[in-house]
Subunit: 286 residues, 2 copies
């Protein structure tokens, strides 16, 4: 199977698990907005969970729960980031954002409930290392992780001087890196094994992912991407591309992918899918 | 010690624990808004955790963590409920709401991070029954609990006909009841004991609390309450007072307090503080 086909199959399985968890909630407008919010993502974070779990022989059911949890967390962050008071976006994954398709209050609540659902999925009684998994997810999601990254991103919009490369790297470590780290280390965490190789992989992968996002924001096609582009340039925000230039940004992303693949050495050939994932991250068109 | 003095001492201890957890996060505007959001509450939910834990000989440190968790969750719900797209309130606990004191994006993120922090506190490695505690908190907070109650509340504002008593009771079961239930049963849950008596206590207490909120909204003093009042009447929303009348609402709250105290019978005299809490809930002026 080609990597995109493999990713798509995994994304469908994870989205189905998450959709079932949402469907089990009482019928409400918020539930409908949650279902809207989780639909149609690339599913990369969930895929990373499944692969990291497979490397450590974690049972499929537990892996699917953890994968659904990280996709719920990611979806909540997008629903809230798209709000008028935040990035004010109308389009996401090729469809109206939650506050456009529903309304702002419902979008806020749907994001809130998706975050709660992420923890509910992690803390299931049969989940291996449920408490450790939950703790790490809470740290990755909160004001030392994803929320901090988003806050730094908003602060950057009104900063007197554009951010430095170091500051942008710190911002992205929170905004993207924290959830990538969780996704890639969920497997060893559930198996009570050493997470160091996959943590190193995640760090390089997350940064390469973000550099590629900046490149796509500059060069990409909004229709393919399914979201508004050129936002950062319009806002005069520093990005990896504006700081490094397009070619150097591409080269840096390529180096990071080599670094990510090298980090997988302890797993040998078993980690071939994760190497494909790394190459996909910088070659994708959305 | 009088009950208000006892509650106040407990609230201070819990707020200090929660403030320390927030202070341990990286310095940011979001962190400042989180600290703003948790300050100055009555601390009733945290108090209920401490008392329910004491009844089951749960170590004080674990009880404080769980109490801080529920206060973080409650604070997040208030920060988001006060947002312009939700209840649009300027005043809370006698001070400007988070989106007034900071800005809307920061308030959204601070609420998001407070929710994550609540789970982080529950899932600490030394917390007894950490996974079960987390799972139940996620269920209480999400779209089958608190978020559902809030969504029903918003829907009620634009409903063609005012809600029935049964519908308002269902709404309040989510909006207030779910967190009260968690707070009161955290003790037996951490001790792996039967939660039924405290669940019955919580159910009656939560409803009495909400009826009293409706009475205070009608009759109370905004300065004492530290928040805007008469909102429901202005919005033409049905409340326990509008449906039952003031005297019958008072009588119903009183009956519920009797019911709550009766539910504590298995604990005998050890539960005297929780009986005082129940009496306080309907006699408070804010």
């Amino acid at each position: 199977m080609s990597f995109p086909a493999e990713l798509s199959a995994a994304a469908q399985a994870v989205e189905a698990r998450l959709a079932a968890a949402i469907q089990a909630l009482p019928d409400s407008r918020v539930r409908a907005a949650m279902a809207h919010g989780i639909h149609g993502g690339k599913g990369l974070r969930g895929y990373l969970v499944l692969e990291s779990a497979a490397l450590h022989d974690v049972p499929r059911e537990a892996a699917l729960n953890a994968a659904a949890a990280i996709e719920a967390m990611h979806a909540y962050s997008l629903v809230h980031d798209d709000l008028p008071a935040m990035d004010d976006d109308d389009l996401r994954r090729g469809r109206p954002t939650a506050h456009i398709a529903f309304d702002e209050a419902t979008a806020i609540l749907a994001g809130d409930a998706l975050q709660a659902l992420a923890f509910e999925l992690c803390a299931q009684p049969e989940q291996p290392q449920a408490a450790a998994l939950t703790l790490k997810l809470a740290q990755a999601a909160g004001a030392a992780g994803m929320v901090l990254g988003q806050a730094l991103d908003i602060a950057a919009e009104t900063a007197a001087t554009p951010l430095s490369l170091q500051q942008i790297t710190a911002l992205q470590n929170g905004k993207t890196g924290a959830l990538f780290n969780w996704a890639c280390t969920a497997g060893p965490l559930m198996a009570d094994a050493d997470p160091a190789p996959l943590a190193a992989y995640a760090k390089a992968l997350g940064l390469a992912f973000q550099i590629t996002d900046d490149i796509l924001d500059t060069e990409g096609n909004a229709e393919t991407a399914g979201k508004r582009l050129q936002k950062d340039a319009e806002a005069g925000k520093a990005t990896f591309v504006s700081l490094l230039g397009l070619e150097a940004a591409r080269a840096r992303a390529q180096d990071l992918i080599t670094e990510a693949c090298d980090a997988l050495a302890p797993y040998g050939k078993k980690a071939e899918s994760l190497r494909s994932a790394a190459r996909f991250v910088i070659s994708r068109d959305k």
